[in-house]
């Protein structure tokens, strides 16, 4: 083996970086660490738990307990749940079990996809290989979307296998291929993909892994409560119905509106508005991330740490 004699490179003449190869490289990065299977195992366990919990809650909806305080209303609800529309709603709910917290996994994986480059100082190797940083981020975006879709697939397979047995055991007959169910499952896919990209966008803006993950969790979980509080406060002084639809500006609420057919909550804006706002967040985050990453140096921190290391080395050398 010599430097100038490389069968691999002889084969490679005339090839180079292409968008598809970059996406495959990004997927390879996910695949070659333990991150993805740890996440997938955690996600699978969580989805199974959520499915079980969901199953029990629908069971009590269909078969009210005898000691229920308002038995008449409970029976009316049970009858409602047994109509074709009610049955389809239960099937759709079962098929998207665990969605509320499941998308968190996809979002955090998106965050890690970017912040790992800085936490492990691989950004240097990455940007030496592909100096056009916007291209790298777009490839990461595609990889994040793919991994979001993978989480969705795992959840849907688990739910898809168990839901028919559950529905049968509850003596409900409905087809999982009905439009209402299929639509819910597809909207679920959209949520997983968009949240994964949202996480990636956040990771490009905030390089610190810890802060970035915390910000992602705050945007998702804290977002609900904070905007509800603010807009109910506004409504108190300015009682117009549309004010109560205001929380949709928070990404978590927008996503909820997006995946809920009809109105997600009283005075909620229409479904498409949720989609538009969520897409807007993803676009703005990604664009800002591309702009910032293209301009930011890689990286002052690296330079400082390597300078520090050099000082330590020379100090050790002098002592020796």
């Amino acid at each position: 083996m010599t430097l100038l004699d490389s069968p691999a490179l002889d084969q490679a003449r005339g090839t180079g970086t292409t968008p598809l190869r970059l996406v495959r490289a990004e997927i390879m990065k996910i695949r070659t660490t333990n991150t993805w299977w740890l996440f997938l195992i955690g996600f699978t366990v969580f989805t199974a738990l959520a499915l079980t919990s969901n199953g029990f809650s629908h069971h009590y909806e269909l078969y009210p307990q005898h000691d229920t305080s308002d038995r008449a209303q409970a029976l009316a609800q049970a009858a409602q749940a047994r109509t074709p529309a009610g049955a389809a709603a239960i099937a759709a709910s079962m098929m998207t079990s665990g969605q509320f917290l499941g998308v968190l996994f996809a979002m955090i994986l998106g965050v890690l996809l970017m912040t790992n480059e800085f936490a492990h100082q691989t950004a240097t190797a990455t940007f030496l290989t592909v100096p056009r940083r916007a291209t790298v981020i777009l490839a990461k975006l595609a990889a994040a979307a793919c991994s979001g879709a993978l989480f969705w697939l795992a959840a849907t397979v688990i739910s898809g296998v168990t839901t028919p047995f559950y529905l049968h055991s509850q003596h409900i007959s409905t087809a999982l291929t009905g439009w209402i169910v299929v639509r819910s499952v597809l909207l679920n896919l959209l949520a997983f993909v968009l949240w994964a990209i949202f996480g990636l966008g956040l990771g490009t803006l905030i390089r610190s892994q810890v802060i970035s993950v915390a910000a992602a969790l705050a945007a998702y979980l804290g977002g609900f409560a904070a905007v509800e509080l603010i807009f109910h406060g506004i409504y108190y002084f300015y009682p117009h119905g549309w004010v109560l639809g205001g929380p949709v500006i928070a990404p978590a609420v927008a996503a909820n509106v997006m995946i809920t057919p009809g109105r997600a909550f009283p005075h909620a804006p229409p479904q498409w508005a949720g989609l538009v706002i969520m897409l807007g967040y993803v676009l703005v985050l990604t664009a800002a991330g591309v702009a910032l990453t293209s301009r930011r140096d890689v990286t002052l921190r690296d330079v400082l740490t390597s300078a520090l290391r050099a000082c330590q080395d020379s100090a050790t050398a002098h002592v020796v």
């Binding site: 100038l4 490389s6 970086t17 190869r21 955690g42 917290l101 996994f105 240097t124 993950v213 140096d297």
Partner: protein, 352 residues
């Protein structure tokens, strides 16, 4: 119910993140350094003329961090077919300069080009330039081989090239172990392997000798000399003078972000001739001093010898013969790189 699940999920996520961050770092592999191939770098030398575009031109390069000029109007040229040492004390701006050259840091002003183009403007950078910037630059949970395969995939080079370069740097045995367990020397080798993936004509290395044992340093020296012998451009930074004196053909010395000297190793030493002196042992010091004239500065050097500066050994010998003076001992002290370097960078090594 949702709250309980949320707690479970958050706890689980925190655990997952801590797992993947730490990765396999805890299982550090302490092993003997990998065995070196007996004749690692054969191959036919390629004349410099057949490898065009390997010239590095740095022109008026400046980088300012919050009012401090880390690099200050720096200009130099690095020629193909030679090993160029990039020397300077810690904090002189070497790393910043190399990062600007490789498109990782945006210069405040000035340009740094490779073969006439910006790094970011190169069509297939991996095939043109190899950079070794820091030793700890791979994911700790990823194997060395996978790290290289990711680079191959990004650059559109067949993945088997990863195995070729692993063999080239003698890391084949460690290739399937996680990077977190690598010693510093193995990390440097992996960095070199990554730089060689595209068989580039230009190599830029930042402190590659850091953390290497003497065998590793010798290996690195042989590698860089071989690469330069093939007509490649090799720019290697260091704060270790002795290493550069053995390795480099040319030197670029910077201090406090500014160019202090540039030229061949020999020319830099001889340009410091003022620092050269002769030590002479003779019974007739005053007579010799008178014969040498006003150019020479004669000072006692202890042990019955005098130190003479300002004239060279030939002049001293001639003068002694003319005056019939016995010379018992004549020692010339050539200024070495260390002396030249310390003089050039005196007082500028402070952390700025």
């Amino acid at each position: 119910m949702v709250i309980v699940l949320a707690a479970v999920v958050l706890g689980g996520l925190a655990w997952l993140i801590s797992r993947q961050r730490g990765g396999a770092a805890s299982t550090r592999i302490e092993s003997a350094p990998p065995r070196l191939p007996d004749r690692p770098f054969g191959g036919k030398p390629v004349p410099a003329g057949e490898r065009p575009g390997g010239r590095i031109v740095v022109s008026g390069l400046t980088k300012e961090y919050r009012g401090v000029k880390a690099v200050d109007n720096l200009s130099f040229v690095v020629e193909p077919g030679r090993v160029t040492g990039f020397l300077g004390p810690n904090g002189a701006g070497k790393t910043t300069t190399l990062r600007m050259l490789l498109g990782l840091v945006e210069p405040t002003s000035g340009t740094a080009t490779i073969g006439g183009a910006d790094y970011a403007g190169l069509d297939q950078p991996v095939r043109r330039v190899g950079g070794v910037l820091e030793a700890s630059a791979a994911h700790k949970g990823r194997t060395g081989r996978d790290h290289l395969r990711v680079i191959c995939q990004s650059a559109g080079i067949p993945l088997v090239r990863a195995d070729e370069v692993l063999e080239l740097v003698g890391l084949t045995a460690a290739g399937r172990r996680p990077f977190g367990g690598y010693s510093l020397g193995m990390r440097q080798r992996l960095g070199v392997a990554a730089a060689l993936i595209g068989d580039p004509q230009v190599l830029v290395l930042d402190e590659p000798a850091n953390g290497l044992d003497p065998e590793g340093i010798r290996w690195m020296r042989d590698l860089l000399r071989t690469l330069a012998g093939h007509g490649r451009t090799v720019l290697v930074s260091s704060h270790l003078l002795a290493e550069m004196e053995q390795l480099a053909d040319d030197l670029v010395i910077i201090a406090a972000g500014q160019l202090a000297a540039q030229g061949t190793v020999a020319s830099i030493i001889s340009s410091m001739a003022r620092g050269g002196r002769a030590l002479v042992r003779t019974p007739e010091t005053e007579k010799l001093a008178a014969e040498l004239g006003s150019d020479a500065v004669v000072t006692p050097a202890g042990d019955g010898m005098v130190s003479i500066t300002g004239v060279d050994a030939v002049a001293i010998g001639d003068a002694a013969q003319r005056a019939g003076i016995a010379i018992h001992q004549l020692v010339t002290e050539r200024p070495d790189l260390e002396a030249a370097y310390l003089e050039l960078t005196a007082g500028k090594a402070a952390i700025r």
